[in-house]
């Protein structure tokens, strides 16, 4: 110990000497020797170092003599520690020997390849895929279309379109005059007529002109008017000639333009935009894919909805899923309706947030969920601002035709401090007095009662793309974080131009369009109620009476017990198509696909979409056809043909 104490003050001295030595060495090398001797003096004496082992052994021997037990215990401990170290390292080396040899690896790999590897898809079609009809649309003319079914393009049926979400008749307005279809029929398409459907409408099906006349008598829908203006100007023959004769292209194209531009403003905008910009935007919005119609559309919809901003995506589905994923992150809480459509589910999945589901449109269940969260908060002693919380629902549910009870949802949301992400894709342009969606229907305020609202422009507006609206913060954030915005190409500019004009139509004559749509909706529900009664409540209406998406389901009763709903309803849809009304067999996404696309499988159903372009005749006809089809399929069921 004494040496150590002696040594300590010398450290400074040694340091000083070393410094001196270095300094001296660098400046003058003359008195280096002097310094070296000085340095040597300051070192601990050599004898102290030599004596150290002796001192140590003495100290140790003393210890052993005084307290042998202590030494014994400590030595044992020391040895065991050393042993454990050594033995552990030995274990490691053993595990290295444990590794598989190349040969064994190859065996495992071959075995996997031969035996365990699953095929890319399961052999055969997914279960139930054959039951559901598939359609191929050959031409769309106003509210009518030519459709073939089940991969058989030779049989083409002329049908009235109740299958697509053309709520405001924007697409009906997009199409060419009636005359061209007659030519098409006469020239190349052999329209099949089913013997089964021998009602008065069959005759008019052969020739759309007949139906058209009746229609015009009934009422003058704007779209038809537009079509009517130039009904005789085009012919398919003319177009074909043009293709063959390239020299005439320019003048023909000009003719086309004249004809198209005179038809209706929506179509005019589309054609003009096509001529100016071509089709594709050729890049994402960030990289020169932003073309002025995109900006115009964002501006227009912002104004229309009274929001602070809008952001345009190139696809309705990715609008929804990207928006949800942009705001909801790990650790956030989402309270989601079980009946939401697939893009919302995809967004929820991508967000990786905590999800709590509530029963479809069941407000009691929703309040149960939010109350349980609040209780948990109380237990944990945290406020509602501890995490971001969202309620997610649709304004008008695509898969069930229900309308969200927004008044109750908004009340709960305010009470428990949630934000609301509302998907108005199907309610925009269909609900509310001026078509501003479910918020308008319930008299709720955007940004105040629903923070984030997504709208697909593919349904009522009849274009491509989707927008998210909200306050400035919400819109700006998505421009970098919305993956469908940031990493995907922009939508073709002509679709944005078309959407601007369609929006303008909605803005300038909401009464015409929406009153017509509401009247039609009401009319069809009235008729359907009578229809259901006629069928002795075998078929029931499953959708909300305000919804233009109509769902009809098979009632659960003794008669229908052994009927496979999907097969039965699909067969009805097929029969309807043969008789001239295009409907869709819906509500079997999960079973059909074999993967869980939707959270809760909607009931198998027949879906009809009412449009403002439909006439009363159209709807009467559809129900007549439906009635006949149900009878015939039921008959076949009883006979055991299905």
């Amino acid at each position: 110990m004494s040496t150590t104490f002696k040594f300590l003050p010398r450290v400074h001295a040694i340091g000083f000497q070393v410094g001196q030595a270095v300094h001296g060495f660098l400046t003058t090398q003359q008195d280096f020797n002097e310094l070296w001797t000085g340095f040597q003096e300051t070192l601990p004496s050599w004898s102290a170092i030599c004596n150290f082992p002796m001192l140590y052994s003495t100290w140790w021997w003393d210890l052993l003599m005084k307290d042998p037990v202590h030494v014994l215990v400590e030595t044992t401990l020391l040895i065991s520690v050393i042993y454990m170290f050594l033995s552990r390292s030995k274990d490691w080396s053993e595990s290295k020997n444990d590794q598989l040899t190349r040969k064994e690896e190859e065996d495992l790999i071959n075995e996997w390849k031969e035996n365990s590897r699953a095929p890319l898809v399961a052999p055969g079609l997914p279960t139930g895929a054959k039951d559901v009809p598939t359609f191929l649309v050959h031409q769309v003319q106003g509210t009518k279309m030519q459709v073939s079914m089940d991969n058989d393009p030779t049989k083409i049926y002329n049908v009235i379109n109740f299958g697509t979400f053309d709520f405001l008749g924007m697409s009906a307005a997009f199409t060419a005059p009636e005359s061209s279809i007659k030519d098409a029929n006469g020239n190349e398409l052999a329209i099949m007529q089913e013997k089964a459907a021998e009602d008065a409408y069959n005759n008019s099906n052969n020739n759309f002109g007949g139906a058209e006349e009746k229609k015009e008598e009934e009422e003058a829908n704007t779209t038809e008017q537009a079509d009517n203006d130039n009904s005789n100007k085009t012919s398919k023959n003319g177009k074909r000639k043009k293709k063959k004769n390239k020299k005439n292209t320019a003048s023909k194209a000009k003719d086309d333009d004249d004809r198209l531009t005179s038809s209706n403003p929506v179509k005019q905008a589309s054609v003009e935009a096509l001529q100016r910009y071509g089709v594709g935007a050729c890049g994402p919005r960030g990289f020169y894919g932003t073309i002025d119609p995109h900006l115009k559309l964002e501006e227009e919809i912002t104004k229309f909805m009274g929001a602070e901003g809008a952001i345009l995506y190139s696809d309705g589905a990715s609008t929804v899923s990207s928006t949800v994923a942009a705001f909801c992150k790990r650790g956030d809480l989402l309270v989601v309706d079980e009946g939401v459509r697939e893009p919302l589910i995809a967004g929820v999945k991508l967000s990786r947030a905590y999800v709590k589901w509530f029963k479809h449109n069941d407000m009691e269940d929703l309040s149960r969920v939010v109350e349980s969260v609040a209780e948990n908060d109380k237990k944990l002693g945290r406020g509602p601002n501890a995490q971001r919380r969202f309620i997610i629902c649709e304004g008008l549910y695509k898969n069930t035709g229900q309308i969200a009870a927004l008044d109750k949802i908004v009340a709960l949301k305010h009470k428990y401090h949630y934000r609301l992400i509302l998907d108005e894709s199907f309610s925009f342009g269909t609900l509310g007095a001026t078509g501003r969606g479910a918020l308008e229907l319930f008299n709720k305020k955007l940004m105040h009662d629903a923070e984030v609202v997504t709208i697909a422009l593919e349904n009522a507006i009849g274009s491509i793309g989707g927008v998210t609206i909200g306050n400035e913060e919400i819109v700006d954030h998505q421009r970098l974080s919305g993956s469908g915005y940031c990493f995907s190409a922009a939508s073709p500019p002509f679709t944005a131009s078309a959407a601007v004009v369609a929006l303008n139509e909605l803005k300038t004559r909401p009464k015409e369009l929406l009153t017509k749509l509401n009247d039609n909706t009401q009319y069809i529900y009235d008729k359907l109620r009578i229809f259901c009664e006629q069928k002795e409540d075998l078929i029931l209406i499953a959708s909300d009476m305000r919804s233009p998406i109509v769902f009809l389901v098979l009632a659960e009763c003794a008669e229908t017990e052994d009927i496979d709903e999907t097969v039965f309803l699909s067969e009805v849809v097929r029969e309807c198509l043969r008789r001239g009304a295009g409907m869709v067999s819906a509500g079997h996404h999960n079973t059909r696909a074999g993967v869980q696309l939707l959270r809760a499988e909607p009931q198998p159903s027949i879906r009809l979409c009412v449009s403002a372009a439909h006439t009363k005749n159209d709807m009467d006809f559809a129900i007549e056809v439906l009635s006949g089809a149900v009878d015939s399929v039921l008959h076949r069921y009883v006979e055991g043909e299905i």
Binding site: G280, G462, V584
Partner: protein, 618 residues
């Protein structure tokens, strides 16, 4: 002798002396040297193939007219052949990691980049602090007249996370004029970029509008001076620029009126803009079917499925194919849509180093041997997902070896050809054709119509069975709105032109022009000493900028000189790897490219961008 990565890089840089050392048959000396050290058989056949390939790229004057690149053709073709051979050889050998080396940032540059970010972040923090005291435009003030409940911080957590928002408001917004530039013309070779101005210190950008609306004469003159001033169709102030940013590879945006207009307008007579239903309901039109047959025939696959959006094609198809108990092995640089799809699928995901076949093999082996985590049961199936051309790297996939490895281990191959379809290969059949892979060996071929075809949407081409399944299982097909029939027609017409079915050799000319333009541009960029990523024959060429301040400076300098270029920063690329990216089109002429290159030469001097020469970039 093995060449080090730096040497490889240098080799690829144009150097007259080095060219002299190339052996006479077009195979570079260094390849011969390296082939001695490896299995001669494998190298032999790959060399043969590339000689064959390069000879097939001869310019056909009879068919295509005068060759604009006659004076540099030999040099260009040699460099391209050289590059192809290098790409093939060093990946066969395993990982020489030349690409990684390329992507890694030199220490000095990294330091200066970090320094730049430190300064930016510190300034941002100070501004935040000041804003929190004095208020500012980024602090959302609850309105007193019409209070919105979600602004109340005692009950609501902020809607955006702090770091992301910090990045947006303090870094991105300062230079946001470099992105989202709106244009007022078709996205062809020459575009009219609408001038924008910010009245709130770059928080938002507004269009300048018509020239008469500017009250200040000096500002007016600023816009009207110079050769680039123009008025857009709506009278707004615009700037004529050469477009080096759009994915208009085959130039269908430029000659749209001659090639596609008639048929597209014709389709508008028969079909609406939107089919307004999903593919499985009433959204399938005859045009969809026609397009699917066209795609399937073009790629020599049994069947195809077309969906409305390229992004969603990946994001919905991958979950339909893979699920729990499956394994997805994905290239580290794969696009977000693939990442989203893989994440949504619920399958396990492993990443392999970009284009590193040895690492891919190691990953697959390990996965098969070890099985699933925890339970150790064998995987149901394994799928390897790669892209044909990586959009931010310009690098094409080493598909031949990916397929070889996948075949060996029984993994399925999913190839995303978003950027390569139409843009690679002699007849535009994408990366598979370019690398000489039989499309039958690629299980799923995915691609988009946005880029080369000037349309929108995406396709999946695969066997009949797979497509039949996808039609039902894929959400894009069963739930989402279908592709617009009008766009279908556009793509069908574009396919016809590409395959020469329109009776002209326009398609052939487009492929030749695209390849020549790209190779010429790349050659000159390399000569300039810019650090250019990617490979010859790829139309995408990123140039590294690294330092954040150079992002804006580069973009603005280019814009000033009438070049519309794309600069890429976070989040599209890692924070340190900021770059500029050129996308070459068949519609560019040599004059256009020469003009651009001369301007770039000047910009490279001003901004010190010659990183390929030294880390000091001078």
């Amino acid at each position: 002798m093995m060449l080090g990565p730096k040497a490889l890089l240098r080799q690829r840089m144009m150097d007259g002396n080095k060219l002299a050392r190339l052996s006479s048959d077009g195979v570079p000396a260094c390849v011969e040297a390296s082939s001695q050290s490896t299995d001669p058989a494998s190298d032999q056949d790959s060399d043969d193939e590339f000689i064959h390939e390069s000879s097939s790229y001869a310019y056909d004057e009879k068919c295509l007219g005068k060759d604009p690149y006659a004076d540099v053709r030999e040099r260009m073709e040699r460099l391209a052949a050289n590059d192809r051979a290098l790409h093939a050889t060093h990946t066969i050998k395993g990982s020489t990691k030349s690409h990684e080396e390329e992507l890694s940032i030199p220490a000095l540059t990294a330091m200066s980049t970090y320094l730049a970010y430190t300064v930016l972040i510190m300034c941002g923090r100070i501004r935040d602090l000041l804003a929190s005291i004095f208020g500012g435009r980024y602090i959302r003030q609850p309105s007193k007249t019409n209070p919105v409940p979600s602004d109340n911080r005692t009950f609501f957590a902020p809607i955006v996370k702090s770091w992301e928002h910090f990045y947006t408001r303090r870094l991105y917004h300062r230079i946001q004029d470099c992105w989202n530039r709106p244009i007022a013309s078709n996205p062809g070779a020459h575009i009219e970029v609408l001038e924008r101005v910010s009245t709130d210190s770059q928080k938002s950008m507004k269009l300048v509008g018509p020239i008469d609306s500017i009250p200040d004469e000096r500002t007016r003159n600023e816009y009207t001076e110079g050769e680039f001033y123009t008025e857009a169709h709506n009278g707004a102030v615009a700037r004529k620029c050469l477009n080096l940013g759009s994915y208009n590879y085959l130039g269908f945006a430029d000659d749209w009126k001659n090639t596609c207009q008639d048929e597209v307008m014709g389709s508008l007579e028969k079909f609406p803009v939107s089919a307004q239903a999903s593919r499985n309901e009433m959204g399938t039109t005859a045009l969809h079917r026609e397009l699917e047959t066209t795609v399937a025939n073009f790629l020599r696959k049994d069947d195809a499925l077309v969906l409305t959006m390229g992004f969603n094609t990946n994001a919905t198809t991958i979950p339909a194919l893979m699920g729990r108990g499956d394994l997805i092995i994905s290239d580290e640089l794969n696009h977000t849509s693939i990442v989203n799809g893989a994440r949504a699928s619920g399958a396990a995901i492993r990443i392999f180093r970009h284009n590193d076949i040895a690492h891919l093999e190691e990953t697959i082996r390990e996965a098969i041997v070890l099985g699933r985590p925890r339970t150790r049961r064998p995987w149901n199936k394994i799928m390897v997902i790669v892209e044909g051309v990586y959009s931010m790297e310009g690098e094409y996939c080493d598909l031949k070896n990916v397929v070889k490895v996948c075949k060996k281990y029984g993994a399925y191959v999913y190839l995303d050809e978003a950027h390569s379809i139409g843009a690679m290969g002699r007849t535009g059949r994408g990366c598979a054709e370019y690398t000489g892979v039989n499309t039958a060996d690629v299980d799923i071929m995915m691609g988009t119509f946005t880029k080369s075809f000037g349309g929108m949407g995406g396709y999946i081409a695969a066997s009949k069975e797979v497509i039949a399944h996808l039609r039902w299982k894929c959400a894009g097909s069963s739930c989402h709105n279908s592709l617009s029939p009008i766009v279908c027609q556009q793509v069908i017409t574009a396919f016809r032109v590409m395959q020469g079915q329109d009776g002209t050799n326009l398609g052939k000319k487009k492929f030749q022009d695209l390849r020549d333009n790209s190779n010429y541009f790349r050659m000159r960029l390399n000569e300039m000493g810019l650090l250019t990523l990617g490979r010859y024959d790829s139309p995408i060429m990123p140039v590294m900028l690294y330092i954040p301040t150079k992002i804006a400076a580069f973009s603005r300098e280019c814009y000033k000189r009438g070049l519309a270029t794309v600069v890429v920063g976070f989040p599209a690329v890692p924070l340190l790897m900021a770059r500029a990216r050129f996308c070459i089109s068949a519609a560019h002429t040599r004059e256009d490219l020469d003009m651009a290159l001369n301007e770039l030469e000047e910009i490279a001097d001003i901004l010190q961008l010659r990183y390929a020469r030294s880390p000091f970039s001078s």
